[in-house]
Symmetry: C4
Subunit: 211 residues, 4 copies
């Protein structure tokens, strides 16, 4: 792995470091949507504070979703040994859609009764998921860039990444029926990624099979 | 320590790096609560500036409290040698409650005469303390994750971490009598953690005993 | 490479690390220009959201431009082996103009029909490009600071860096004819830097010639 | 150098890393004071843009001053080999006053015709300088924490650090005569630190004497 332009590559460490910075800032900027309007009188403060529940929900869900994508992105780098020009730009595109989350989360928190707000939030998260899938498929399709990955594992990781965007499509569509269903899906999806999953089981089986 | 997903772990360095970024940003975002309202006329500027004393107090106390938790979190990693899935998510939960501090501090600074604002701030800091305790107890309960810790030391660290949340419970309760008592407690708690304490003495004794 | 003042130098790693932090934050702060005005009623939300297209465009273009300059700056450090006082301050000047981009991008997004806004944005990006050129020329003119660079390559990199500022001058001038031409140029310039270019071909030829 | 609490120390690398993050964020947040008021009409935009000159001045001067203090702080760590509890908290205090600069700079930019605003800005920078001096004096007074420093060099560094606070006291005082004098001093002080200075000459002489 090299950091040197003359050899046409860019170090994986550098790309991950930029990502660590961006994830840390994006996760922290989420809090800016939580604010009592300037000039709120003392006697209106309890009311304004209660009004912030949807924003707090959007904060918690988005923080956890970003945590999941931060972990997933780093896990992919366990297989990636070099970054070419295309992969570099896929990474920057990934950071570009990740950095939009504080905006889409503030829309989702601020206008949670509107299907359109749910669509903005879901659309942003779908973009994050699809770019992560592109990142995975591109990197593992080039032997020069990644360690060989067992085809079964590769397919399962594909499906694991796609699960969230598929559910977010459902969340957006059902949002036009009831935004509460939509919000329930947004709250529920992260749980699927935090508990042990099929990819972990396959990895365990592969390790057991090796013994 | 490995960063590699196939082995089901995540490097301690990575988790600490994300934390360094988050703490640096959270501490710096605290300053955003200090602002002269847009459109303040020159002649009203001295008045508006004086109005910022409570916010400046909230800034200083919160900055120091975050400094304490940053140090404490790193100190725990002196004993931690690996991060499993549960510990990873305890860390992300820790960062989630830490990243709320700029919000709760701005509430405490902006509405310092309201017991409810004191409760929001205290509640946030209690959550930070309890998640840190959970982090410590979980990590040190698994031999695969941490160096063995002397039981007496472990208990003293438990108590040391719990001291702040206990005092914050008192601050919230007494805030309903007088918010000034509450503010005094918030200002006083960090002092207890900056001066040398019982945990340090135990560590010194243990080192002396080893000789 | 040394970090030690007594020897009058400053490590390249340190300077790059500050830059990584600054780029990550600047790229992330771009999102703050995307906001629904506080107090927008639910029924006006779709309208206000549609109003954000110019800001979203400014976000995407600026994010990609910053990505390009982040890559270019690091690529220069592939040749740089030490940082003297002058080069240190050229770097800080580079970060100073880079950190202005969230402001100039918000002006370009918010007032995209005004030639003056286009000039502010273009002027900022010209400054970034020219300071990067200064960085490259100064570093490679001092044998103590950089690896020797083939004169042909050096000239091509000069020209490659200057291409963007030249096009931005055109964008500013044509903005007084039509801001749409100006915006098209801003959207188009990054493409020139993402696709493989003459500098890459020269590097490939040089490597081929070496074999 | 150790990161381990049981030995009562904290790594210098860790403290510097937090500082790199804080400086990068503080320098970048300075840009938030540059903003066209929300709701400015297109025809008022040129006027509002021109109004931002003082803020742009405060941005540039503050960015450079922070660059100087970032360099100075790292240069001190060239001599520091360990961080004890007191030095750790001096560092956190240093970051606390550094992180206030975006506030005091926005005050100085927004109310540049008011001596009080100049005093807030100058007072903040005096605090930064004095805490840096405390950092230097404390660290170099403990043989366990730092390399031995030549007494003549130590005194010159003392004086070099004190120069800025002394000039800022003058800036505050003269601000009550004319804020223009005050602003000229703020613009001028950084120059003294960017050009080669007496400390550099002493270091050169010491190195020459060694040969």
């Amino acid at each position: 792995m090299t950091d040197v332009h003359p050899e046409g590559g860019f170090s994986t460490a550098r790309v991950e470091t930029l990502g660590d910075g961006i994830f840390a800032i994006v996760m922290t900027l989420l809090v800016l949507q939580l604010r009592i309007p300037a000039g709120t009188l003392a006697r209106d403060f309890p009311h304004e504070l209660r009004q912030l529940w949807p924003q707090l929900g959007a904060y918690v869900v988005s923080f956890v979703v970003l945590g999941i994508y931060w972990v997933a992105h780093h896990n992919q780098f366990a297989f990636i040994k070099a970054v070419d020009r295309v992969l570099l730009w896929i990474n920057i595109l990934f950071y570009l859609v990740v950095a939009l989350v504080p905006f889409s989360a503030s829309v989702a928190g601020g206008y949670h009764e509107q299907p359109l707000a749910s669509a903005v939030y879901g659309g942003n998260l779908i973009a994050v998921g699809l770019v992560l899938l592109l990142h995975w498929r591109y990197a593992t399709s080039k032997p020069a860039l990644s360690e060989p990955v067992d085809p079964r594992l590769r397919r399962e990781i594909d499906r694991h990444i796609l699960m969230a965007p598929a559910l977010y499509v459902a969340a957006i569509a059902l949002g036009f029926v009831s935004t509460w269903i939509s919000l329930a899906i947004y709250a529920f999806v992260p749980v699927l990624y935090i508990v042990p999953n099929r990819v972990d089981r396959t990895l365990d089986e592969m390790k057991a099979g090796l013994r």
